[in-house]
């Protein structure tokens, strides 16, 4: 898969093969295609992969980067080494496509109160944004939005679902 290739490249570049194998909850596989989408209101629509891709498009982004999202521990907004590898691949793509603007969505799992989770989602989106900015992506190309716990990608009430929902997603316009 292209996404796995991208991940491998990023990991090798940073010499982080050891962490990539760590059995952390964050290493859960992505949700199966077609079931984890949040419709048109959020950026979890990954359709278009595998078809002819237009350079600079969302499909192009999703093919080239290690992942469009980073995942967080409970009540955390820490960007760890694995997240940095993902964001490095995003930054490389964004620097190669300098006209594209992005929205970074911050999300929380359901096991928090609604308003606090809006603040937490904002923290997570800004953590991703700040890292991308540190890699040279102009802040003027990035906006953030917090969805709190309003748009989960995994619908279960278990640790595996919550781990997928604690995320910051970099969304390229369709």
């Amino acid at each position: 898969m292209m996404k796995q290739n991208g991940l491998k490249i990023a990991v090798i570049a940073l010499g982080l093969t050891a962490t990539a194998c760590a059995p952390k909850p964050k290493d859960l596989p992505p949700p199966p295609g077609g079931t984890g989408d949040a419709g048109t209101t959020t950026g979890d629509d990954t359709g278009g992969v595998g078809q002819t891709v237009v350079p600079g498009s969302r499909a192009d982004f999703l093919q080239k980067v290690a992942s469009d999202r980073i995942l967080f521990e409970t009540d955390s907004y820490t960007v760890d080494a694995e997240d940095r590898a993902i964001l490095d691949s995003q930054a490389a793509w964004l620097l190669a496509n300098p006209t594209v603007t992005v929205t970074i969505e911050g999300h929380a799992d359901e096991r928090g109160t609604r308003e606090y989770n809006l603040g937490l989602g904002d923290r997570r989106a800004n953590a991703a944004k700040n890292y991308l900015a540190s890699r040279g992506v102009p802040e003027s190309r990035m906006t953030t939005i917090s969805w709190g716990k309003e748009r989960p990608v995994a619908l279960g009430s278990d640790e595996s679902a919550w781990a997928q929902n604690r995320r910051a997603v970099t969304v390229i316009p369709q």
Partner: protein, 458 residues
């Protein structure tokens, strides 16, 4: 008689006159009982006990008249049903009737057949009537009797437009509740909440309002934009809430009369968690700037510069004014996890008040001022109350996820929403009283969350 202190918790709930077994003709009062028999009263914050049996027969009409709300005799039957339902839902009463009770005549409204009612086991009796006036309005009469003392406790008359007939019924129930409990009334009030449909990842959320018993339900927004956390203005003319319209989470004020909405404060940043001040002049809210969330306030009438109230690193949100407007309770994770803090309304004197195990969120100051309700996160999400100094913590519910308490106008009942687990888990609106024993679901046409109870209707 004041029974509002926690010290009274162990008191028996019903302070029914021990002298009620006296014969009607008995003229000698026991020397120790004073001049009058002890009053018929109900204790709202008392311990577990049986609710008071109260008879509520159908209410007659002196003359059958067709009104825009229906025929007056039919209205009398419906008013009695609402009164009985309100009293039952308070958890403090077991109404007898109106179905199954004998019909009473109009003259009997003020001359009850105490002999009959005494044989039914009812300790109190509600009678009333519905009358159409020449000017097109309705008069709803409402009488409360002590069955054993054979005496009238209170009488009220409500003159309303026919379309407001349900309000007259709630006011009747309020007068009975207030007379028998010594508490302030609360039935004649409304709820704003979020109506929900669809799967959890594509939830459609609509702003909706309803009477305190779920009647007169109305959707205010169409669901195209996600909306959250509504609050009524003190005069019920506006609702402040969060909307994702234009994919920007910001605070809006919805004008119920015109159906129009406006942004409360222009900002490129996310604004959320809005609350009216008790005088309706200010909106207290949270704003996130670069990942840091603080509390602000801004004029509710538009214009003016926002005033920042907190500036500590962390998420400060969930602000709620004390009823006199001089203090604000809020949650902050500045110490690590979410905890509850109190400060003066200008942001000074911030101090933490929650110190139990787990996290504390969504504080709401009681309209009486005596308690703060909150969500406690320690395994389950539970609704609890504590004093404004943080003492006397009591948890009232225990379910997987109960969240976001809102107070009845009299500060004796709390509504909240309950979320079920998993893919099919629904959100539903519930209420519980301060004893924690009277818990029930509020019926809504769709799923519901974020209830916000308004004050007593003006």
């Amino acid at each position: 008689m004041k029974r509002l202190t926690l010290a009274a918790l162990a008191a028996v709930t019903f302070l029914i006159a021990p002298a009620i077994a006296q014969e009607a003709g008995q003229t000698q009062q026991p020397a120790t009982a004073g001049d009058e028999p002890p009053p018929l009263e109900v204790d709202v914050v008392g311990g577990i006990s049986a609710p008071m049996p109260i008879a509520v027969p159908y209410m007659p009409t002196p003359t059958s008249v067709s009104t825009e709300a229906g025929e007056t005799g039919a209205l009398g039957r419906q008013v009695a049903e609402i009164v009985a339902s309100d009293l039952k839902n308070s958890g403090l009463f077991t109404p007898r009737g109106p179905a199954g009770l004998p019909a009473i005549s109009y003259p009997q409204v003020t001359a009850p057949d105490f002999g009959y009612w005494g044989g039914t086991g009812a300790q109190a009796l509600v009678q009333g009537f519905v009358q159409a006036n020449a000017n097109g309005q309705l008069t709803v009469g409402c009488y409360l009797y002590d069955v054993y003392a054979k005496s009238e406790l209170t009488r009220q008359g409500y003159v309303v437009a026919p379309r407001d007939w349900r309000r007259a019924a709630h006011k009747c129930a309020d007068s009975i509740y207030a007379r028998l409990t010594g508490e302030s009334p609360f039935f004649d009030s409304r709820i704003a909440y979020i109506a929900e449909t669809g799967p959890k990842d594509k939830r459609v959320k609509r702003l909706a309002i309803m009477d305190s018993d779920g009647a007169n339900h109305r959707f205010l927004t169409n669901g195209q934009s996600t909306v959250l956390t509504p609050r009524f203005s003190p005069d019920y003319k506006q609702i402040v809430y969060l909307s994702y319209v234009d994919k920007r989470p910001r605070i809006y004020i919805y004008d119920i009369g015109t159906g129009k909405q406006r942004v409360v404060t222009e900002s490129a940043n996310q604004t959320f968690a809005p609350r009216f001040s008790p005088d309706g002049k200010w909106i207290l809210y949270s704003m996130s700037v670069g990942g840091n969330t603080d509390l602000y306030r801004v004029s509710a009438s538009g214009g003016g510069q926002p005033v920042r109230l907190t500036n500590t690193p962390g998420i400060d949100t969930g602000g709620s004014y004390s009823p006199d407007g001089t203090k604000i309770v809020f949650e902050s994770d500045r110490s690590g996890g979410q905890q509850i803090y109190v400060m003066d309304a200008d942001g000074s004197n911030q101090r933490r008040i929650s110190f139990g195990g787990g996290r504390y969120a969504t504080p709401e100051w009681s309209p009486r001022g005596d308690l703060i309700a909150f969500t406690k996160i320690a395994g389950n999400f539970r609704i609890g109350v504590m004093s404004p100094s943080g003492s006397g913590e009591r948890l009232l519910t225990n379910s997987w996820q109960d969240e976001a308490p809102t107070w009845s106008p009299n500060g004796r009942v709390i509504q909240f929403f309950r979320t079920g687990q998993g893919k099919g888990g629904k959100s539903t609106v519930w209420q519980v009283d301060l004893t924690g024993t009277h818990e029930r679901q509020i019926p809504t046409p769709l799923d519901g969350s974020d209830p916000a109870w308004g004050p007593l209707l003006p």
